[in-house]
Structures are given as C-alpha cells and as structure tokens.
Subunit: 349 residues, 2 copies
C-alpha cells in the first residue's frame, strides 16, 4: 500500500485542506469535521444533539424506509453532482412508495486526500437538495479509507417517510387493462454521465435529469385513488422497472415506442454508443400504473407538476404473455424488452 | 486504471464465482445477487416484496434512527467480521439511545473481483447477528466499483428502533454527583484489529468484543428510572465518549484508573504499540451515567447480563473543572484525559 499510495498522491496532504485518516478516527479531527462542515450545512434540532442516533416523534401508521449508496463517477456532471443524487435518490425511493419523505441519514466514506473544498461543495449541494425535497438530515457518520482504497467519496443515504393512512401501492395490485404513465423523456442521466466519462461533447442542452419526485408522486396519488404502484427509473432504466413489475404481478406489459419520449441528443448518443434508451438510467423519472378509468386525469395532473410536464401514456397491462414486456416499435413490429443482461453503464449513481 | 487493475487482479473474473461490475447494474445480475445471496439469508415479509422501500407499521411515539458505514480491515478477525460489526454497530447506536432496535437497512459497496464465497460468508454472519439482536433487515442496496476503487467490501447499515414512552436520555441531563458505569474491559476490539494487521501473536485469548448491547441497555433503563445517558465506546474509545459528554453537559468528569478493567494481553499490547487503552476502540462496551442513588442497583443489574458481567463503577460527574475529563491514576496522581487528537487506529470499524 505504501508504494501505491506515494505513487498516487505525490503532494503532501495538509489536514486543514484535505481529508486525512484522522478525520475518521472518532477523535478531535472527526469532531472538527462535524463542527466545520456538516453542522453548518445540515444543522437542525435532531442532528445538533450529536447523539449516536436521532430521536424522532412519529404518529402511528405506516412508514417507508429505504437505503441507497452512491458511487457515481464523475462526482460533478451537468445537471447535478453526487450530493444531490444522494438526496434525491433516497427521496425518490420513498416517494414512489407513496410516502412523504421526512428524515434522511447521511454516511460518508471519504478517501484520504479528498480536498476539503470538494467535500464542502458536495455537502452544500446536499443541504440545498434536502431543502428542495422537504427533508431533514438528522443523523450521520464519516469514515476515511487510505488513498487507493476508495474513490474520493461514496455517500449512503437512508430515509424515512410517512405513508398516508389507507394507501397501499404494490406491483401485486397491477391488473390487466391498467395504464402505464411515464413522467418524461428517458436516458438523460445515463447519457450525461457516459459522455462526461468519455469526454464527449454532445450538445449544450444535455444534462442529467436529477430531480426530487415527491411532488409528482403526491399528485399521482391524489389524482388516482386506486393507483397500483410507482417506480423510479434508475439503474436498468425503464426496462428493469417494467420487467420487475411483470414478473412480480404475473401480467404482460405492452408498451408503444412512439409514446416514449427520448430527446434527440440522447437518441443520437445512444446510437453512437450502441445503447438502448429503455435500459439507460434516469434520476428524475418515474412510471405510475393506474386503472384505465383514472389514467387521463392522472396524466393531466402529472403534467401540471414541473418534474412531470412531459408525461405520456406509454402502454397497458395485458393478460396475455404474463411475465413478459413487449413493445410495438415505431415500425409497427413487436419486440420483447428483456431485462438488462450484463452491465450497460457502471457507476451511474 | 487499466494498468493498476491488471496488476492487482491477474486472474480472470468469472461471474458465477466473483463480483463483476454487472452485479451493480440494476439488471439481471443484480437480481441474481438478490435472489441467490441476500434473500436466502435475510428474507422476511417486508424485504421479500423487493420494493424500493420497506413499508413498516409503527405505533405512535418516538423512534431512534441511526446510520453507520463499516470499512474495517481485515474483514475477518478473531471474535467477528465486518458483517457482524455492521449489524451490532447500528444496533448498539440505537440501544444506547434507549431504543429497542427493530429494523435495519443494509447497503453494500462491493469491489469488482470480490469472491462470491466471501460475500456469502459475510451475509450469513449478518443474518445470524440480526437474529441474535432481534432485528430484521428490511431493505437494501448493492453497488459495485471497479477493482482498485474500493477495498473488497464496505457495508452501511441504518436502523430504526422504538423508544419507550416517557424515556429521555441525553448528555444534557447529566448532573454533578452522577456515577459513571462501564460495562467491561477496554480495548479488545482495537487491539485485535491492530495485531491482526501487524501479524502479531498476542496470546490465544485475545479477540474482539463485538457484541449486541440491546439487552444490557434495556437492563440499565429498567434498573435506573432516572438514567441520564448511555454511550457505546467505539472509535475514540472511552476518552471520546467522556469528553463529548463533559463538553455537551458542561460538567467535569473524574474517573479512577484502578476501577477501569483492562485485560493483561490488551495492556501489554498497548505498551508495545505505545497506545493508551482509554483511546482504543471497543465494539461491545458502553458507559451509563446514572444518579448516585441508582448506581449500585444498576451496576448489579448490568452484571447479570452476559455482555455486562464485568461492569464497574469508574467515576463521578463533578461541578469542578467543567468540560474536562480527569483521571486519578493508579499511582494516585491526577491527569487530564484529553480528546484523541490524531489518528490512533484507522479502519477499526
């Protein structure tokens, strides 16, 4: 390790400008980091107590609990950064469960040598994102690994949301005849990350769709009292979400390529890279499955929310070919949309 | 990266024996990992739904919420492994808040090339540990980073516990005259990890104290209706916990070296490495601060629990020298026990 470490990090590391192993020791440097970096950005009554756990008052009822670790590379990209992604990712996992996101934890694995300035920037983004999503960061943790044993920064967020009384969303509720509503164009996050990594200029307007979906999800629940389920379309894209639902509900799913929005830049990049937009990750898109009778009203309600302004009705649940997702292509032919088999894009979130 | 990667990993990686990037893609390989590794070990009704969030029924009242990432090196050590540590670490953070630990999340950051056999072993340990601690793993996540961008496996666990009605524990409640009770000998976890890393044989009986403290914490709460606060003594050891309490409650703390148990092997190793047992990490020890009137009964109750059988009364809270921790040494002199300044032992948990 010593040799690799000195190769990889020729500059001396100063404790007041860079992360050192001592920042993860639980001693004075750890306390400094909490006082100088985390509390000024995240501070709230629950967190400020600095106990090993947050104490939260809850009403009786159901809560949603979710976790996600974020390892995206690069850390900063057009439209967002790992900090925003870490907040919105967990917020969205709670939101598609029908929950109102309330409390988040934030746990950092920092690599020795990370500039404190970078950490500050990311933490500031997390603070802004949490405010936008209406959540508080109430508890946290920081660990440090040696240079070469991590990759700058990994962030875990876990979250708690409150599920409204009487609401049940589940893929198992999906029935033949239900409609599938998609909240906007596919593939922007994945293609943005990929083009950044490959150093490609794909046109100025391409950026990640990273966004919190709690308002959109609430609008869907309100417009569709019998909404069956929602999914956000992250790793594995639309195809993974649909295949999981088809398998879990033992129904067929038929979607229409013409109804699925994909921006020209993304479509062009997908052709260039040999990718299918159905499999590319999004970070601010969801699908909702609702009864046919509620689909028009729900679609209209989705379009009134900024994160759903380009929503479309992309297909239906069928009794035929249970467990399978099929698509009527733009050419009028049918094809099977299988689950992503290998690894399309590593470290996308 | 390519060069480092090929240097570090000369053997070909097979998808059925080792972790590959595709296991983190959200596609078929991710689903295989969930089906073949995680569900068989962790399975329960909330997790089995495989939604992006667990839905949990809660009674009204206060909950405790905590998070911790685990990066311990080596992964396996006498007395435990990273999997057990990840379960007990979060269980203990909840327990010292007075909560009954109930639900855990588990999020994995795996390095490409990790043998699936190792993952299976760790996951099995987590499952056993969760059963011992009475918690369910209800939601999870897996990410994979390229070889050389992580270190085999990092685990985040976050947890939710239920705080009994009417119970308030807080360092701010600590008062002069209160007693400090310690649940057993110091430094076993830290010294075990260090000796493993240095390849030292320190005697057969040395092993980590990794253990769940929920039963001990419940016994303390029961025996001491006015218990002020509890802390588990992980990174930074006893000194960090006491200094945090002294600062937060603006009181002095006076402990007695003769009352603080340290096993001979640990004491010897500390002398060898130039370490002070007060600063070395534990993973199965706590302190409780209780009113003088309840201290004897609480100490007796602690000794009846297996994880507290060697409990001692190590000192008192004072009005004098607020914010400072002092110790009467075995020689009868007084010394200040300051907060750990640098990094004593990296990657201890």
């Amino acid at each position: 390790m010593a040799t690799l470490s000195s190769l990889a990090c020729p500059m001396p590391i100063a404790v007041n400008t860079h992360i050192v192993l001592g920042h993860g020791s639980g001693g004075k440097l750890s306390a400094d980091l909490v006082r100088d970096v985390f509390l000024p950005a995240f501070g709230n009554p629950a967190l400020n107590r600095l106990d090993d756990q947050a104490s939260l008052q809850m009403a009786s009822g159901r809560i949603a609990f979710s976790t996600d670790s974020f390892i995206v590379k690069p850390l900063f990209f057009p439209g967002g950064n790992i900090g925003e992604l870490a907040i919105y990712g967990t917020v969205n996992d709670l939101a598609v469960g029908g929950a109102e996101p309330k409390y988040l934890s934030a746990s950092f694995i920092l690599e020795e040598g990370l500039p404190l300035k970078t950490l500050h920037q990311i933490v500031k983004s997390m603070s802004d994102a949490a405010a936008r999503a209406g959540v508080s960061i109430v508890t946290g943790d920081t660990k440090v690994v040696e240079k070469g044993c991590g990759d700058k920064i990994f962030i875990n967020t876990s979250g708690i949301g409150v599920i409204p009384a009487g609401l049940t969303l589940s893929a198992s509720l999906v029935e033949p005849g239900d409609h599938i509503l998609l909240s906007g164009p596919l593939g922007e996050h994945g293609i943005t990350i990929l083009s950044q990594r490959e150093g490609l200029e794909l046109g100025g307007e391409l950026k990640s769709d990273t966004a919190p979906l709690h308002k959109l999800a609430q609008a869907i629940i309100k417009a569709s009292p019998q909404a069956r389920c929602m999914r956000d379309l992250t790793r594995g894209g639309l195809s993974s979400a649909l295949n999981e639902i088809a398998a879990s509900a033992r129904v067929g799913i038929e979607i229409n390529e013409r109804s699925i929005p994909v921006r020209e830049t993304v479509r062009g990049a997908c052709e260039l890279f040999g990718l299918d937009p159905l499999y590319v990750a999004n970070e601010g898109k969801l699908i909702a499955i609702v009864p046919a009778s509620e689909s028009s009203a729900t679609l209209a309600a989705m379009r009134l929310v900024d994160t759903g302004s380009e929503s479309t009705d992309i297909g239906v649940i069928t009794e035929a070919h249970a467990g399978l997702v099929t698509m009527r292509t733009a050419l009028g032919t049918m094809r099977v949309v299988d689950m992503l088999a290998g690894d399309q894009l590593p470290r996308i979130c």
